[in-house]
């Protein structure tokens, strides 16, 4: 958590991903709102979890433009549990078909912010994070 009491967030995108304009916009929006943002392009789910530990973040935001969340999200959630990161809120963003949102939440994803998501809703949720 930052000294201003706001959450620290790790935004991640796999190196095989295509478009990253969305996640970069989210980074700008969150910085504008006073959150500390770290961005990592990862090659394996392990890298996300070790970055989350190392950076001591309150939130992890995973961005997908290519639908690989089916392969990556369960693995990341499993590794986070294994490392004891129970309090870290995990969000997903990007090109996410509505019909997959339920499945993502079943995996433990707190919320999905896809194309055209409401910035204020994202910020409101972020305000609740990090108050451990």
């Amino acid at each position: 958590m930052k000294s201003n009491g706001k959450a620290k967030v790790l935004l991640v995108k796999h190196w095989m991903e295509c478009h990253d304009r969305g996640v970069k916009s989210v980074a700008a929006i969150l910085r504008d709102a006073g959150f500390e943002v770290v961005y990592v392009v990862y090659m394996s789910p392990e890298e996300i979890v070790s970055a989350a530990v190392q950076e001591d973040v309150d939130v992890v935001g995973m961005s997908f433009s290519t639908g690989a969340y089916d392969a990556h999200v369960p693995e990341v959630m499993r590794l986070m549990k294994e490392k004891g990161l129970h309090d870290v809120m995990v969000l997903v963003g990007g090109l996410i078909p509505d019909e997959d949102i339920g499945w993502l939440k079943e995996q433990g994803i707190r919320e999905v912010f896809g194309a055209g998501a409401d910035t204020n809703q994202l910020i409101e949720l972020m305000e609740t994070a990090g108050r451990k």
């Binding site: 295509c18 961005y39 290519t66 639908g67 194309a115 055209g116 910035t119």
Partner: protein, 568 residues
């Protein structure tokens, strides 16, 4: 262009016009609007705004240098733009189904020919084979998984490659072109018979987290592709400079044009330094151009771009061939301005973008499908996007007159202004030490990121209206079904690549890859002409695109993958 009498009339009438505004709107100021590149726009234009332009050198007629109005004296009257919808998903045979559907729906090239604009999946883009861990989750998802010559066979079987343009959208061009050539050889063809387009984006996947090759090495590889094509593949368009990619990253119209030309200049400079005659390679350089919301600005950008490219070709490179000076363009209508909310509204947006492109005189066109913010296009949405092109061509009457907006005081003024603004940006790049330095330092990327962040802030504040998203929003009525490729794609692609490797003569493959390392080392020292032939040799010896790519990485640096700058 106007006599003093006309200009005097303009001054008098504009005074009356201002008086009428003051009277009718009580002095309210309407003059503070700007275009999407930040250029101030006035409510009305007259001959006064274009009085300093010279008709011959600044406007001219279609088909004459500097080609601002059109590449050709007659264009759509004679040869309408090429339908070039991007398609690709799943396994090669799945993509073939879409190719056949589009062909059946009337997708046409020049003179009844056809161009298939095939996009690879991201692993194939970056030289990662389906059996590698990094590819998992990404195989055949947003493009076709096609890592070998055999896969080309599954996709292109029975298609006459001497009469059909094959456009291959792939990042790491060398291994991929090599496998295409080896497939063509299996059909009894030689490289000089092949027609189509590679991207040659060795350092320019602007919108992706990975940028492929480091700038200087990427430029050497790009040059080697051109060196090979200019000698062996005269009908092949080797290079397609990203404009749309820059636009999707955040570039406005001025920066899209300027950065596009800066990229092309860097490549052309490198080719000249490698000893190539500009007229041998300039016709093979084309541009992929985004047509976005600001209707007139993007049309004017397009016209200015043609002129700027023609003058660059003639003045900077001494080109003599018309085709070296003519801007070959593939329009890609805007995607970042499409919405997931009320997605059918995207059909309306894309139709306007496409109309802008047609009025600009583009030579080929991809119209985005309405469901792109949800996934890759379904068969229905892909064909609807093609129908936009067909309605424009056959029903709107817009193909009758070349450059129909020419002579509009506004359009001519703005075209000239776009050219001047782009020249300023090109000078900034020169002042920063040239394109490669500006690319490496992140200067170009940070400007694009800044624009993207500003755009999003304007949308969030409501200053930038997006219909159905931040205005006229309604609760979603139904869940739009995304297109999904066959779930078995990854398993089959992995089996195939394993089988491909298992049945080859490994000693031959190893020898060919060793020869490639030697060729790459020569290129790194500045000796051109060996790497692309060595890639073809490796493909003949059944080294996969992934293996060829990784072999090149022994010599050339990959990146900057992980030093991506965040927006300010």
């Amino acid at each position: 262009m106007f006599d003093e009498k006309t200009l005097e009339q303009c001054r008098r009438l504009m005074e009356l016009h201002q008086n009428a505004i003051n009277e009718r709107y009580q002095g309210k100021d309407f003059s503070s609007t700007t275009g999407s590149s930040g250029i101030p726009i006035k409510p009305v234009y007259t001959p006064l705004d274009v009085q300093d332009l010279d008709f011959e050198s600044d406007i001219g007629v279609p088909g004459s240098y500097p080609y601002m109005r059109s590449n050709y004296p007659l264009h759509y009257q004679f040869q309408p733009w090429i339908n070039q919808p991007v398609h690709g998903y799943g396994l090669p045979e799945h993509t073939r189904e879409r190719m056949d559907k589009l062909a059946g729906a009337g997708m046409e090239g020049y003179f009844g020919g056809r161009a298939y604009n095939i996009v690879c999946d991201v692993p194939t883009h970056f030289g990662v084979d389906p059996d590698e861990p990094d590819a998992q989750g990404y195989i055949g998802k947003d493009g076709v998984s096609c890592p070998t010559d055999e896969d080309f066979g599954r996709m292109l079987d029975g298609i006459d490659l001497t009469k059909t343009n094959i456009v291959i959208i792939n990042g790491d061009t060398l291994p991929y072109l090599a496998h295409f050539i080896v497939y063509a050889e299996s059909q009894g063809l030689t490289p000089d018979q092949l027609r189509g387009n590679t991207m040659n984006w060795q350092f320019g996947a602007w919108y992706a987290p990975n940028h492929l090759w480091e700038s200087a090495g990427g430029l050497k590889l790009a040059t080697d592709v051109i060196y090979f094509c200019s000698k062996e593949m005269p009908k092949w368009n080797h290079t397609n400079i990203q404009g749309h990619g820059m636009s999707e990253t955040g570039a406005d119209a001025v920066h899209q044009m300027a950065y596009g030309i800066a990229t092309a200049r860097a490549i052309a400079d490198s080719c000249v330094a490698a000893g190539l005659d500009p007229d041998s390679f300039m016709p093979g350089i084309g541009f992929q151009i985004a047509q976005c919301n600001d209707f007139f600005e993007y049309i004017c950008m397009f016209r200015a771009w043609r002129k700027l490219w023609a003058t660059t070709a003639r003045e900077r490179y001494g080109c003599k061939r018309a085709s070296s000076m003519q801007l070959r363009t593939h329009t890609h209508t805007s995607c970042f301005e499409l919405t997931k909310q009320q997605p059918l509204v995207n059909l309306v947006r894309s139709a306007f973008h496409a109309l802008g492109a047609a009025l600009s005189g583009t030579t080929a066109m991809e119209v985005a499908a309405y469901d792109e913010p949800i996934g890759i296009p379904t068969e229905e949405s892909a064909i609807l996007a093609l129908r936009i092109q067909q309605v424009m061509r056959h029903e709107m009457g817009i193909t009758k007159v070349g450059d129909p907006l020419a002579g509009s005081y506004y359009v001519e003024w703005l075209t000239h202004r776009m050219e001047e603004e782009a020249k300023k940006v090109l000078k900034e790049i020169d002042d920063a030490g040239g394109f490669v330095k500006a690319h490496k330092s992140g200067m170009l990327m940070s400007t694009m990121r800044k624009h993207a962040a500003e755009w999003r802030r304007a949308v969030d504040s409501g200053e930038e209206v997006v219909v159905g998203w931040n205005k006229y929003a309604v609760p979603a009525k139904e869940v739009i079904k995304p297109f999904r490729a066959d779930p078995d794609v990854a398993r089959v692609a992995i089996e195939r690549i394993k089988e491909y490797k298992a049945k080859r003569d490994q000693a031959k493959t190893d020898a060919a890859l060793n020869a490639l390392v030697a060729a790459a080392e020569r290129l790194d020292k500045g000796e051109h002409g060996h790497v692309m032939p060595a890639c073809v040799g490796a493909a003949r010896a059944k080294a996969t695109t992934g293996e060829i790519s990784k072999t090149l990485r022994k010599v050339f640096k990959w990146g900057p993958a992980y030093s991506v700058s965040l927006p300010h």
